[in-house]
Amino acid sequence: MKLRIHVTLKPGVLDPQGKAIEHALSGLGFAGVEGARVGKLIELDLADTVDDAQIDAMCRQLLANTVIENYRIERA
């Protein structure tokens, strides 16, 4: 099975890369850019025997740093 793990910064965590992107878009002349946040997309290819609890454990133990990041699991 193929999964997509979306890792995003928690609300309130400052994102200097997002800020730089926001400024760059404005600098290109795009009006109305009110925010940008950078996250990660991790595509996993897993055997069908891997259960939800294991997938969640993968996210918590490695794929996301839950001090600063949230994650969302999307089934392709």
């Binding site: 200097p16 740093n65 001090v67 600063i68």
Partner: protein
């Protein structure tokens, strides 16, 4: 004092730390590869060096924190052994859960590489006993991800419990409350972004880093 330096693929300050430790303790540290599952017996200090372990893949320090040797480091830390993480070593210790918070991309997005002023916030710890509280020292930084982040409650707790060991005396990387180095709750684990191991001999342009290692040696007896 017998010491160990943990080495990951991509570590690049391991030799700096080893030279500093040998210079202060008179004994060559034991270099321990990340695949090892046990640490040598009788250590007085475990040092986690700077560098770019695993190429900073995923997040700085994230993969190194899950390597086999870090389980042994966590066990020793729980038993009270001094553990010292510098730069990437600090990132590894936060990722491993041995220290709270996280280190994010510098607020200015630049890699910052220069001498900075640090103030010693807590001079009572095993690592800072040779410094005076409030003293300003000069130590270099060289990092891209040194922006210390933690929730307000954690920051308040760190400050309230005297666990901020060092603070930047100037704006460096956007760190919350200008935190440069923190201690764990038991006081035996220190992580800091600046490099005291690069201020050991006169030829380095100063010796402000030396007392950190001397203090540890003194406590080890």
């Amino acid at each position: 004092m017998k010491t160990a330096v943990v080495v990951f693929p991509g570590s690049n300050c391991d030799r700096d730390l080893a030279v500093a430790l040998e210079g202060v303790t008179g004994t060559k540290p034991i270099m321990v590869w990340h695949r090892e599952t046990e640490l040598p017996v009788g250590l007085g200090l475990i040092a986690v060096p700077g560098g770019f372990s695993y190429g900073d893949y995923l997040r700085s320090g994230a993969l190194a924190a899950r390597s086999p040797i870090m389980r042994a480091v966590a066990d020793k830390a729980a038993g009270g052994m001094p553990v010292f993480g510098v730069c990437n070593g600090f990132q590894v210790l936060t990722e491993a859960g041995l220290l709270p918070g996280a280190l994010m991309r510098n607020a200015g997005l630049d890699f910052v590489c220069r001498d900075v002023a640090l103030t010693v916030d807590n001079s009572q710890s095993a690592f800072t006993s040779r410094y005076a509280a409030g003293e300003t020292i000069k130590v270099p930084v060289a990092h891209h991800d040194g922006n210390y982040v933690a929730d307000q409650e954690t920051l308040d707790r760190l400050e309230g419990e005297g666990r901020v060991a060092f603070r930047y005396g100037e704006e460096v990387n956007g760190s919350a409350r200008r935190i440069a180095g923190i201690l764990n709750d038991a006081g035996n684990v220190l992580g800091m972004m600046p490099h005291p191991e690069r201020r050991i001999e006169g030829a380095h342009g100063g010796t402000d880093g030396r007392r950190l290692f001397e203090g540890l040696l003194e406590i080890a007896g």
